[in-house]
Symmetry: C3
Subunit: 112 residues, 3 copies
């Protein structure tokens, strides 16, 4: 099992959701975040230059998936989130050792 | 050490907090999230059917614990969060390699 | 690659950002969280004592970094966040298996 986290543009949330659902991934947790992705804007001041670092509103998707769905999820997120402009976002994949469905106590793949 | 994440109903936050504190777990981070857990509501339209996917408000608990507290935490979360109805939430357990207490520089189990 | 998460005081966010940027770390995701870090305030009531557990507003930094930046990031976060008073926050380091830059499809260290 893996935990996949993706940070995307707010205006692409609907498209990412739809791409995930069509790919069969429906257990998802969303949060509002803000982020910076490496761009640097150098601004001229009357006394010199300064590096400006702006944080933009983003939305974070988190989904726990079984191994066969890792690739599927990454494809769906890219398809829903990509505009081709800088700032489209990033996907992170992390190990996940255990999952429990609270209602039933089911574990791991049975809980996904 | 493990990082335990649990997504629960907002109306159960107080009960989950109390169950965790009674179990000796008091280092906790909470965030407001929204989520979907697999239910699908098929809605009849005048032109056919459509799958509705609703996102509900949830609260995410995160806690870094030492190995002996993993089972204790899972039990406490289940006890505080379970209503028996769909949507009670999920628990995720992930590996955690290092912890630092910023004030003192203490590390790992000494920082928990 | 590692995923570093740090929970810090809101009034130290600017200093942590600056310390990270000066250390060369500029891919960062922030969220507003609330947390409790182990303090217990025992309050006297007219009918006895009660343990009060207060949750405080905190800010969570998340950053995916390559191995050589782990130590650098931890130092920068500590430098920006430490006041010396209880509640300065915690740093967590977790394994990270894969990173994808959505715009280009670049992976792992090339995507950081
Ligand atoms: N290394 C990182 N660690 C944590 N979050 C990151 C990291 N890099 C990017 N993010 C998050 O992803 C969001 C979008 O990043 P962004 O798409 O700008 O990445 P990038 O690597 O700069 O790619 P691009 O060159 O296409 O802009 C950021 O606002 C931030 O929230
Ligand atoms: N696979 C998953 N990945 C990430 N978050 C999830 C996942 N499954 C559920 N969640 C989160 O947990 C919340 C509650 O999920 P829920 O309890 O409905 O899970 P479920 O597996 O559908 O169980 P139930 O059948 O009892 O409803 C969701 O709103 C979502 O935020
Ligand atoms: N074990 C933990 N798991 C998850 N989050 C934690 C944990 N410990 C602390 N936190 C988060 O970090 C924030 C700050 O914690 P805090 O600095 O009080 O930690 P502490 O271990 O009590 O150190 P100190 O003794 O310096 O207060 C908390 O409000 C909480 O959000
Ligand atoms: Mg960028
Ligand atoms: Mg459900
Ligand atoms: Mg504390």
């Amino acid at each position: 099992m893996k935990l996949i986290t993706a940070v995307v543009r707010p205006e692409r949330v609907q498209q990412v959701k739809e791409a995930l659902f069509q790919a069969g991934i429906s257990g998802i947790t969303l949060s509002r975040v803000s982020g910076h992705g490496g761009e640097q804007e150098v601004v001229e001041h009357y006394r010199g230059t300064r590096v400006m670092v702006e944080f933009r509103e983003k939305v974070e998707f988190k989904m726990a998936v079984s191994e066969p769905f890792v690739e599927v999820a990454i494809q769906a997120i890219q398809q829903g989130a990509r505009t081709g402009e800088v700032g489209d976002g990033k996907i992170f994949v992390q190990p996940l050792e255990r999952v429990v469905r609270i209602r039933t106590g089911e574990q791991d793949n049975a809980a996904l």
